[in-house]
Amino acid sequence: MQSLLSVKDLSIGFGKNEPTVDQVSFTVNAGETLALVGESGSGKTLSCRAILRILPSSAQIRSGQIVLNCRGNDIDLANLSERKLRGIRGDRVSMIFQEPMRSLSPLHRIGDQVSEVLKLHRDCSASDAKRQVLAEFEYVGLNDPERIYRAYPFELSGGMQQRAMIAMATVAKPELLIADEPTTALDMTTQAQVLGLLKNLQAESGMALILVTHDLGVVANMADQVVVMNKGRVMESGSADLVLGSPAHPYTKKLFTAAPVIPEFAQPAVQTEAADIILSLREVSKTYGSIQAVNGISLNVPRGKVMAIVGESGSGKSTCARIALGAESADPGGHVFFRESPEADAIDIQSLNPVQRCDFQRKAQMVFQDPHSSLSPRMQIVDALTEPLDIHSIGTAAERRDRAIELLEQVGLDPSMLRRYPHAFSGGQRQRLSIARALALRPLLLVCDEPTSALDVSVQAQILDLLEDIRDRLQLSYLFISHDLAVVARIADEVAVMRRGRIVEQAPPELLLANPRHPYTQALIAAHPEPDIHRPIDLDTVARGAGEPDTWPDAFRYTDGAAPPLKKYEANHLVRTHA
């Protein structure tokens, strides 16, 4: 059979450097899905951009062929003239990207941007184009297409933006769609729905799909063929059931061990009621203007344990983290109590005088999500690590320096790196550095706000190992914020699931995952893509729980904005329900 696209020995390089993509070959058959899998820096994005020749200006295709079979004719895209290539882009081969918000122009209406494809490639009138675009909107599951047509990107949610991007890519009925990490920036439940949409579109239109992803779970749900890449080379390729079922290459095996999986707990562990609470949120609410971001949250972080808050964007989880650190104050009536030691009195961090606040800040520190932007690029590592000591006037210069060396050793980095700047470090190393900085003042409590979600999967596992290790070694307590149940299942002692500012279910991870009661929790678990072709995403369960609270089943629905109470379902297991 003639394949739709075949890439042969493709090499891409920047300037005079060694090629970044080296002798990469793969083929895509009509109607099939090929997954390009790899971690950051593997060259997967460059390879797929090379197909349309939309590479950064400093990168060139060094050698190789990119042959597209176009109505029986073979065209080598690598050597096609720019003018002819424009006829292919968006028409025969189209592309969608990772961040829909940034990939759509903020100043043009959605309808304008989508119908532009038809105006460029089809000889059709404006009204005809609009009719086709509206039909496509309906097709990709955008309700009220007339409104979407007139809307600007920032008026839509992330999921709707990505649907609009998909409409833009598919409105001209291309033969090949290239999707570059199309769901990485989306919430878990939205990701499941967008993946489902892509699958449906493909089944109905028969277009081929190249899916670029780092997530083996996504691969297992979508792919027919898999190409595993690392450092610009193909490590392993073949059909999905072979590569996923019995990975041959050590690198593929390594990816599998690191892939986050929601574990199946056979027997829920017996929990003892923890009496020693280090941090306690009581009836904390936060209102911004007319928006209630957090609504009556009560949580306890037991000493030496990990309390996790799981939720999607807009759930209020990060606001909770900031309130817990006193970086933001809760609405009147809410309290945050901190108890330095089991014998000490609890202090309310909402009402601290400046001296107490300074004291509290030493004992509660934060680890941020993005290690690239949370370290100043103009500060050497030694300065970044000693700055907290400097601010709190602790120790002499020599003592601070010794402390910095000790910190680097604690997070598994070499003390010889002290004089380097952050750009010399990889993402995982930088996250180690920001953990080290958070440890500088010997805190008792760490608030970790999505500490692993900006990292590659293999690095993510290492950072979680490190967090567990220092928790035990330094007797830390964590308030751990995440959107990923698989991450949380690994590290947390107790999990609170948040949706739209409220906790909907709370339990130790074993109980929660073995016996989720709330439809939203069930949707979150079902939406998690597992790296196993025999456990596909259950879209029905996702659809049942992922919507707004007023679409939930009767027993859980909010009536007139009033939520049902959080009830005890069993010991240690709370569910927000009428039943």
Binding site: I88, D91, S94, P106, L107, H108, Y152, F154, M165
Partner: protein, 342 residues
């Protein structure tokens, strides 16, 4: 209709700002000890011309310079009765220029319109030069086109305006027969508008526009280039690229629209810098704008003339800012929606 509401609100704040500015201007002009007339009286006394002293004393009363400063200010505005009842800016009486010995309105008169004309043409020149060059320099960044246009731009920034003026006058006259100095040929002075007069004015405007505009154009070009370069790497540009949009349309429709914002926002800032920059140039080129009059008035503490000119420049600036704000609201939906929420 949101836009009209926005414009009205903007107009109201502009009026408030103008009021505040007028008070500041009046205060600052009166900060040095004495005024034009006390200085004159002192000079007359020392030279023994007692007859002139009486006249100056009379003028002091006539223009209420003998009153307290706040009173003077209010009379100048026209909200407080002076020797001749309410007669100030609000009533259209701009006061008396002691330096030129005639009413301020007569001193300024045609110069005001000439100032507006010269600056409008200069602003247009700045935009017409900076827009294509800035986009070109960004699109062809790190090529000889970029380097040459940057070089020319920096040359324009670095050359003193008056020097450029003299050079251009010399060579413009030598090779292209361009007129030297003034804003129109002498025979049209005071004549009613005619086709010939307009032609003469336009011919006279070429060199001044170039001189006043180059620095502004060079600075703006560099800003636009930097903004464009920031935008060119954004994902939405890649999206358009992957759609098959042809290169020129791609640049114009997507990154330029976004990079345009600071460009538009600069209209307001451009006017004061052009006017203050053009004072020197106007003196050198002999342009009948208000620049030279302002210089003379400030030197001799001719307070009504100086006050009016400064207020006029402030009003032009505020109008420029308002125009750019309104344009931004029209151009950028994000600002439009932000304004609606508030």
């Amino acid at each position: 209709m949101d836009i009209i509401k926005f414009a009205l609100r903007r107009l109201a704040t502009m009026m408030m700002t103008l009021l505040l500015v007028s008070a500041l201007i009046f205060l600052i002009i009166n900060l040095p000890p004495g005024d034009y007339l006390t200085n004159q009286i002192a000079e007359l006394r020392s030279t023994g011309q007692e007859s002139g002293v009486a006249k100056a004393e009379f003028l002091r009363k006539e223009y209420s310079l003998d009153r307290s400063l706040p009173e003077q200010y209010l009379i100048w505005l026209g909200v407080w009765p002076g020797p001749h009842g309410f007669s100030g800016l609000l009533q259209g009486d701009f006061g008396w220029s002691f330096e030129f010995n005639k009413p301020v309105s007569e001193v300024i008169g045609s110069a005001m319109w000439m100032t507006i004309l010269v600056n409008l043409v200069a602003v247009l020149f700045v935009y017409m030069v900076a827009l294509p060059l800035g986009v070109l320099a960004a699109a062809k960044s790190r090529t000889w086109i970029d380097y040459v246009s940057s070089f020319v731009g920096y040359l324009g920034l670095a050359t003193p305006n008056f020097l450029l003026a003299l050079i251009l006058f010399y060579y413009g006259n030598k090779y292209f027969d361009l007129p030297i100095g003034g804003l129109m040929a002498a025979e049209f002075e005071g004549q009613p508008m005619s086709f010939e007069k307009i032609k003469s004015v336009l011919l006279h405007l070429i060199v001044p526009t170039f001189v006043i505009g180059t620095a502004g154009a060079a600075a703006m070009m560099q800003r636009l280039r930097a903004n464009m370069l920031d935008e060119l790497n954004k994902p939405y540009v890649t999206t358009a690229w992957a759609k098959g949009v042809p290169p020129v349309k791609l640049l114009a429709k997507y990154p330029l629209r976004v990079a345009f914002n600071p460009f538009v926002a600069d209209i307001g800032n451009l006017i004061p810098s052009l006017i203050s920059g053009s004072v020197l140039v106007s003196v050198v080129l002999g342009l009948q704008t208000i620049g030279p009059a302002l210089l003379a008035a400030l030197k001799s503490q001719d307070q009504f003339l100086a006050g009016f000119v400064l207020l006029f420049v402030a009003a032009l600036t505020l109008i420029g800012t308002m125009v750019s704000d309104l344009l931004l609201v029209l151009l950028d939906p994000r600002i439009r929606f932000g304004a609606r929420v508030r």
